[in-house]
């Protein structure tokens, strides 16, 4: 099972976990990313390309499934308007082997942070609005995987 979704709706982590739980997999590693409320952030808006963003997510999921022995993989990215505390991304990798589930999960979140076609706009409590620039740190972290 490979699920790669880009959605405006809230991510139902429990429902996704239940899908993996029902599969009888030995190990499930997950990563949940939430909108942080730093610097009086009032809203985070994620713009996306309706075709390319989901295709990019699916490509990432298949790259992980080729690289590790995974019995199930879920990759969900929320887009649109969110507030601090909202779950913005869920990675859930199941495998008979814990090391492979963990490695796939880490790979996917690192890649998601750099490769996925999304644009972030922050709106602050004082009304200030800014589009987020690319961060160098994320690129160097994701770059580790190219050498592995």
């Amino acid at each position: 099972m490979i699920r790669a979704l880009v959605q405006r709706a809230a991510i139902d982590v429990t429902a996704e976990l239940d899908l993996h739980d029902a599969g009888g997999h030995g190990a499930s590693a997950s990563f949940i990313g939430r909108v942080r409320g730093e610097g009086d952030l009032a809203e985070l808006f994620l713009d996306h390309h309706p075709v390319m963003t989901e295709a990019g997510l699916a490509d990432l999921a298949h790259a992980a499934a080729d690289r590790w022995r995974l019995s199930a993989l879920t990759l969900i990215h929320r887009v649109g308007a969110m507030v601090p505390g909202d779950t913005i991304v869920l990675v859930l990798a199941s495998s008979p082997h814990r090391a492979e589930a963990l490695a796939a999960c880490e790979y996917l979140i690192d890649r998601l942070k750099t490769d996925v076609m999304l644009w972030k706009r922050e709106t602050f409590a004082d009304g200030r609005v800014q589009w987020v620039e690319q961060r160098e740190g994320d690129h160097s972290r994701a770059g580790r995987w190219d050498q592995a």
Binding site: G33, D47, H48, H49, V51, M52, A55, H77, I88, V89, L112, K113, T114, D115, V116, M117, L118, W119, K120, R121, W131, V132, E133, Q134, R135, D138
Partner: protein, 85 residues
Amino acid sequence: MALHIAYFAWVRERMGVAEEVVEIPASITHVGALIAWLAARDAQGALAFTEPQRIRAAVDGVMMGPDAPLSGAREVALFPPVTGG
């Protein structure tokens, strides 16, 4: 030539539209020329494309450089560098 153009992030905000179908002159044969043409077309274009080196493009869903040809293209997407998830 009629071309579907989609804008994202601050390019969309500065253009004031998310997408449009434009009739482009035959002399506009590649992505870089399209961006320059849009920058010269009106105030919105001038604002959105004041720094063309900050603009990324996808032609029919594939990332392309400024030299990419427009012949046969159905959709060109123009946007800033992605900021990731």
